[in-house]
Amino acid sequence: MSAADYFFYGWCLVMVAGLWAMAVSKKLIHAALGLLSCLVALAGIYALLSAELLAVIQLMVYAGGVLVLILFGIMLTGRLSDKPMRIESRNVAVGSVIAAGLFITLIVFVGPAFLSVTSTGSPGSLRTLSLALFSEYTLAFELAGVLLLISLIAGAVIASSRQS
């Protein structure tokens, strides 16, 4: 067990706690905090795996962007209704069976494929990834730009339209 391992399992604990909050919490805001802790833990794990750029993006885009967007959603939907922001679950049995089935199948059948593999933790530098993004993946980069524009247009037209 190296220091990296300790950190890894530490982040794992944070993540499991976050997941637990999301899965069982009755309050939207707790679930959002759970998601935040998951995202932060993931950023930490990315850093451990020497994917520094990803870790930064994860913190900035997810924790900073997506989560804020979701919080907006929570506040907007909460604002319109006078009901308390408690959330119930439906069909927990079916959901649990499917989720557990998925988990067990993946662990039992697919997991063994990765048994003998360990991560080296040094896949490449930030510079290599940046270069790849602007050479090999230029097209994807441009398309991602268009995708963002489209989602902007789509989001705007849906959200701005008033009830007729």
């Binding site: 439906r90 069909n91 079916v94 959901g95 499917i98 089935g101 199948t105 059948f109």
Partner: protein
């Protein structure tokens, strides 16, 4: 594939195009010049008929084949073209002739009816499709035309769409035909995969294995059973009588229903011995079911419909047992006399029906017309005589051809002679009712000359001179029938059957028995009686039988025959109801149940949609993983 054959004959496309032009122009002119449509359509068809006559004269002996590439499927080329043989040009001529006469007749019959442009348009379209079916050299094109005649038949049966019965009958006919079409489609695919071609001239030169021929033959048999109303797909034809009577004459008696038999004749070489045996059994069953049906009906159009079923069965059995030529000869003569019968029946219905009322089609109410409608009745009687196979008629010659070819099989010969007897019986019954002098209650209408003319032409065509110069031999004018011989003793047998048949009919129907007396011919009555006799009081039954035999042995024989018939029809009815209908019902129920199940899953709740999807994915995944792990 070799599609280089270029025996161009300009008359063929012209002949096919003229009815199509009639179809388009009729629709186009319909809204504004409705009165002109019948004349224009008839004129175009007359021109088409002239073309087919020219083709007939050109090709009465030799064959010719023309094909151009239609489209290609990978490296294989599907050609489109025609194949003219003595048989196909004869059939083409018959189609156009009957169609022309029906056009002429319809000018009078449909006068004052609604939707006349639509009617003539679809008549033209039908003629085009039927002509294409007859001359096409490629089975794929034949199949397309096959579908198109089904479509025009659907439209014409449902012509009077105000009547719910017409719509239902049209749908029924269409669906039953589709069931048969699947057979043809599978046959085409089998041929395509086994022979690699759908070109008929190429197929004739090909040696296919016996099992392929059996499979193809059975599939074609299914197709022709649908189109030609063979057992067990025959119930749509009587219902199709809901259409206008000239349509019944053209489509449901003379041409379209004969298309199945024509296809059988054309593809006879693709049938193995086993497939032919099945076809023979189907044909003979149809022959008797149709004959029995004709005997129990009082509606003149229904009688003729069942008679058509019976005659089609005879043709199928004839092609299967005797020879394609003999079957085709009967198809030829049947086209004339059955079209004549339908047109005659239409004229009589026209005469006795009151305007604004449901048409009077019951033969019990159609007597007493001799004074006013002599020509119509004579023509009708001549056609009926031809149907019965009276000497000096064309039906006599063609039926003899069929009997002659099976003379070595005493069983089949006996069966066919019996069938002949039944045919004579119902033909004579029909004629006795119509000719009887019992006064007609309602006032009668005159039949216009334009309706009498086609009737007259058809009745002349039903005489022997329509087929041959000699009243005793078929080998005369039509080279296609030269292979059919004549034998005096067979003529004697058919004559004897005829005499007996007419005699029995005279005994039974001379006094125009009404429904109460005729209840004994209706299967349910007999069925109840039989059950009572056999299961409840066997002694009573025995005493009654002896009583009957004691009184009149003929009655006894008739009763026995009736018992046999009733039993047979009961079995057939049971098979039809339980197996065929039952199968359909089961499938319908399964489809409905399945639909209901699948619809119940779509309950509007997005998360259950997701859950079903994920559950399906997960369970399939686990199952596959398990399979792979234990292999």
């Amino acid at each position: 594939m070799n599609v280089a054959s270029t025996d161009w004959n300009a008359w063929v496309p012209i002949a096919l195009a003229l009815p199509l032009v009639s179809f388009v122009v009729s629709f186009w002119m319909g809204p504004r010049y409705g009165w002109l449509v019948p004349l224009m359509a008839t004129a175009l068809l007359l021109a088409g008929w002239v073309c087919t006559t020219v083709i007939l004269v050109d090709h009465s002996a030799g064959t010719s084949h023309f094909a151009v590439p239609w489209f290609s499927l990978g490296t294989d080329v599907i050609p489109i073209g025609w194949w003219l043989s003595p048989r196909s040009v004869t059939m083409l001529w018959v189609v156009y002739t009957i169609s022309l006469l029906v056009h002429v007749y319809s000018i009078g019959y449909m006068a004052g009816e609604g939707g006349i442009a639509r009617y003539f348009a679809w008549l033209g379209f039908f003629t085009f499709a039927m002509g294409g079916l007859v001359v096409s050299s490629n089975l794929l094109v034949t199949f397309c035309c096959w579908e198109l005649v089904g479509l025009s038949s659907y439209r014409l049966i449902g012509h009077w769409h105000q009547q719910p019965a017409a719509g239902a009958a049209a749908t029924k006919a269409f669906l039953v035909n589709r069931l048969g079409d699947i057979g043809l489609l599978v046959a085409l695919m089998l041929l395509w995969s086994r022979a690699g071609t759908l070109d008929m001239p190429a197929l004739t030169a090909m040696a296919l294995s016996e099992e392929t021929k059996t499979a193809v033959g059975l599939c074609v048999l299914l197709a022709l059973a649908g189109k030609s109303a063979q057992f067990p797909l025959l119930h749509w034809l009587p219902d199709a009588m809901a259409g206008p009577t000239p349509v019944s004459a053209l489509i449901h008696a003379a041409t379209m229903v004969a298309a199945g038999v024509y296809l059988f004749v054309q593809l006879h070489f693709l049938f193995s011995a086993d497939a032919l045996a099945v076809a023979a059994v189907v044909g003979l069953l149809t022959l008797f079911v149709g004959g029995w049906g004709a005997l129990t009906q009082f509606d003149v159009k229904k009688i003729l419909a069942y008679s058509t079923i019976s005659q089609l069965g005879l043709m199928v059995a004839g092609v299967a047992l005797a020879s394609p030529e003999a079957g085709f000869a009967h198809l030829f003569t049947h086209a004339f006399f059955k079209a004549g019968l339908f047109l005659g029946a239409g004229a009589l219905i026209h005469a006795v029906s009151r305007h604004g009322h449901a048409p009077q089609q019951d033969i019990r109410h159609m007597g007493g017309l001799w004074q006013s409608h002599r020509l119509v009745l004579v023509c009708f009687a001549v056609c009926a005589a031809s149907l019965a196979g009276m000497p000096l008629t064309s039906g006599f010659l063609s039926k003899e051809g069929l009997l002659l070819h099976v003379r070595h099989h005493s069983f089949y010969f006996g069966v066919m002679a019996t069938a002949s007897f039944v045919t004579t019986l119902y033909s004579a019954r029909m004629v006795f009712y119509l000719l009887s002098p019992t006064p007609q209650a309602a006032a009668t209408h005159p039949v216009p000359a334009i309706m009498q003319l086609p009737l007259f032409v058809l009745s002349v065509g039903s005489l022997f001179i329509g087929l041959s110069a000699s009243p005793l031999s078929i080998q005369s004018w039509w080279p296609v029938f030269d292979a059919i011989e004549s034998a005096p003793w067979v003529m004697v047998v058919s004559l004897a059957v005829l005499v007996v048949g007419v005699g029995v009919a005279w005994r039974l129907y001379r006094h125009r028995p009404t429904a109460t007396l005729h209840a004994r011919w209706v299967p349910q009555t007999w069925l109840d009686a039989a059950q009572k006799h056999i299961a409840v009081t066997p002694a009573l039954q025995a005493s009654r039988l002896t009583h009957h035999a004691d009184r009149r042995w003929l009655d006894g024989v008739l009763h026995a025959a009736s018992y046999g018939y009733v039993t047979c029809s009961f079995v057939i009815g049971w098979v039809d109801r339980v197996l065929i209908d039952g199968w359909v019902t089961t499938v319908t129920h399964a489809a409905k149940g399945g639909g209901k199940l699948f619809r119940s899953l779509v309950n509007g709740k997005i998360q259950s949609y997701l859950a079903w999807g994920m559950l399906a994915l997960l369970s399939f995944m686990v199952w596959m993983l398990y399979q792979l792990a234990h292999r």
